[in-house]
């Protein structure tokens, strides 16, 4: 066995350039895979975290039936007497913060241009405790109950050519379907870092929203934060046990971000194809290298057989050579890919150019931070070695099944 290892190891350096090329293709393949996976996982986590921290919280409470139609922001499924509900929610130890809201479809106009937008009536204080909205004001002031004022995304304001203090008109339908309008003043401009909110939402005091929508003492949702995202499922289960599911739809962030998750699972199919291509690349290069070795060294195979090498020894020798190449390539590729991914985890990758080219509403900031899991790095080395070994099997087998006399006749 030691003899085999020695032979295999030295044979790698025999055709140095070819081994180097094979080694490079393996390490680049593995390194790229690690970086791609790191960025993808990072993107996914980051955008979900952003969605959670700016829009959906850890869990939401709706009136029963709401979630079925949530995309249309219906006002038919409302929670009335919500003060008591929010108070009760806040007594639960696992609930840290909660904020009630009305989300409604609206049109915002300055008399010339108009924009379809989502209105969000918020309890100014609780919204700030829950989503820290006041901290996200980039110009002007936050809103207070009773004021007929709104907060607008800075991008939207720029689009309209509006500044803090300028008037706007909200047009919406009341709960009963009647068209209603309200003149408001822009109190402040916000930027929460989630394009979905920044480009598509405006905020106004809850009592004003209730008034114009004829929803006295009603809301459409309570958004709450528990201890952590990981505990959200348990929280959801607990809340569904505690509250009447005939009255409430209670879901965690996992449910509310399902469209996003679906998007990522589609994307991960795409990555699987990339993987496959990379793996085929690695595999082809190893197979090619090993086949060439076997043909070039045919007479040597015959010599080894004449010395008493069994077929199995020949097979092991070439498989080991492939395995060594895979191991070197895998380790180096993992180190380099891991280092780059780690850099991208700390410093991020600037993706402004992408955002400007059609991903405006993608819920992610202008920087992607990759994720890296040290345990999975080990797994990548393993993949490198196994692909290399598997790809070396066929060439090795070709060498091993040669007849000694035939092999010795080779020039």
């Amino acid at each position: 066995m030691l003899l085999l290892l020695k032979l295999a190891f030295r044979n790698i350096f025999r055709n140095f350039r070819r081994s180097l090329l094979t080694f490079l293709s393996i390490s680049i393949g593995i390194g790229l895979s690690i970086i791609i996976v790191g960025i993808l996982i990072g993107t996914e986590k980051q955008s979900i975290r952003l969605l959670v921290s700016t829009r959906i919280g850890h869990a939401q409470v709706y009136a029963a039936g709401y979630v079925e139609e949530e995309l249309t922001l219906p006002l038919d499924y409302t929670i009335s007497g919500y003060e008591a509900l929010v108070d009760e929610l806040l007594t639960i130890p696992a609930v840290q913060t909660a904020a009630e809201r009305i989300l409604f479809p609206a049109t915002l106009t300055d008399g010339i241009d108009e924009l379809r937008i989502t209105g969000a009536g918020i309890d100014a204080i609780r919204e700030n405790v829950t989503f820290h909205l006041a901290d996200r004001i980039v110009d002007g002031t936050y809103i207070a109950p009773g004021e007929e004022k709104i907060l607008l995304g800075d991008v939207v304001a720029e689009l309209f050519g509006k500044r803090v203090g300028d008037p706007m008109t909200i047009i919406a339908r009341t709960k009963y379907g009647a068209i209603t309008a309200l003149d408001v003043e822009i109190a402040g401009l916000f930027n929460v870092g989630n394009p979905e909110i920044d480009n598509n939402y405006f905020f106004l005091p809850l009592d004003i929203a209730q008034k114009i929508l004829e929803m006295e003492n009603e809301i459409t949702e309570v958004t709450l934060f528990g201890n952590s995202m990981d505990e959200a499922d348990a929280l959801e289960t607990y809340l569904n046990g505690r509250f009447d599911t005939n009255i409430y739809d209670i879901v965690s962030w996992k449910y509310s971000s399902k469209d996003l998750l679906k998007l990522y699972s589609m994307k991960s199919k795409g990555t699987q194809v990339i993987y496959l291509i990379l793996f085929i690349m690695i595999s082809a290069s190893i197979m090619n290298t090993m086949l060439m070795s076997v043909y070039e060294r045919t007479r040597e195979i015959g010599t080894l057989m004449s010395l008493g090498f069994r077929r199995r020894n020949i097979l092991s020798l070439f498989a080991l050579e492939g395995g060594f190449l895979g191991a070197f390539g895998g380790v180096i590729g993992t180190i380099i890919g891991g280092a780059i991914t780690y850099y991208l985890k700390i410093y991020g990758l600037n993706i402004e150019f992408m955002i400007k080219s059609g991903f405006e509403n993608f819920p992610i900031g202008s920087r992607i931070y990759a994720e890296i899991n040290p345990a999975s790095l080990f797994y990548f080395i393993l993949i490198g070695v196994s692909i290399a070994l598997l790809s070396a099997v066929y060439p090795s087998w070709k060498g091993a099944r040669m007849e000694p006399t035939e092999a010795l006749r080779a020039v």
Partner: protein
């Protein structure tokens, strides 16, 4: 070390048969064409013989050596190596038989290029697992000194001349004390002086260790070296001459 072998083998005064071929026939088939390479070969080789196989090109010399060396099996007839019938052995058993009983020397030297001269010689010993590092070291350095290669021991084959490589190959074949060493045209790639030197070494080792040598050749001078000359023609043995009068049967 060499004395050691000599002493052990001295106790073996008996002349034993190590190879017997009975009505051996070898036919190469490729597709529809058949090529009869050997036909009706009966042959017995005993310990300590120094045999040359001669004959025109295509007469079957290599084929015969391959059969004797268990690198191949006959189409018909029996090859018996040290009382073992080769016919019934599988690939692994043949490999083990070669490892234990037979050494090979090739026209093209065939040293393993990634191993040093020393490691090439060590190789057959490692395959047999019956020596420790210290024993191996003693054996190998001793034999390198004997054939005058002590200072080249740690060179790779590419750093040696053809004659030096062939001497290493002879040592590699010999080191495991096989019953028989086969050499297919061992001097064909060497100039006549170097070839003669190699033959001299082989002959010395043959005498000292009582190991049988069988080599094929085209060269008249080389044939004269042998104590027994077998001449092949068209796959048949046409002459089997004892050339060594001093030698008892």
């Amino acid at each position: 070390m060499a004395e050691g072998i000599f002493l052990i083998l001295k106790n073996y005064e008996l002349i034993m048969e190590i190879i017997r071929l009975e009505k051996v026939e070898k036919i190469y088939r490729s597709g529809k064409t058949e090529q009869k390479a050997l036909e009706g070969i009966d042959l017995s080789i005993t310990t300590g013989e120094f045999i040359s196989i001669a004959g025109p090109s295509g007469s079957g010399k290599t084929t015969l050596l391959n059969l004797i060396g268990c690198l191949d099996k006959p189409t018909a007839g029996e090859v018996i190596v040290d009382e073992v019938r080769v016919k019934n052995l599988d690939h692994n058993q043949l490999a083990d038989l070669r490892s234990q009983k037979i050494g090979f020397i090739f026209q093209t030297f065939n040293l393993i290029p990634v191993l040093t001269a020393y490691e090439n010689v060590e190789f057959p010993l490692l395959l047999r697992h019956n020596t420790n590092a210290e024993e191996r070291n003693k054996m190998i350095t001793g034999i390198f000194a004997e054939v005058g290669l002590a200072e080249y021991m740690h060179r790779r084959p590419t750093e040696l001349s053809g004659g030096q490589q062939q001497r290493v190959a002879v040592v590699r074949a010999l080191i495991k004390k096989p019953k028989l060493i086969l050499a297919d045209e061992p001097t064909a790639n060497l100039d006549s002086g170097t070839g003669k030197a190699i033959l001299q070494i082989m002959k010395e080792l043959n005498k000292k260790n009582n190991i049988s040598f069988v080599f094929s050749t085209h060269d008249r001078m080389v044939m004269d070296f042998a104590s027994r000359l077998i001449i092949l023609k068209d796959g048949k043995i046409i002459k089997d001459i004892n050339q060594d009068n001093s030698r008892k049967n």
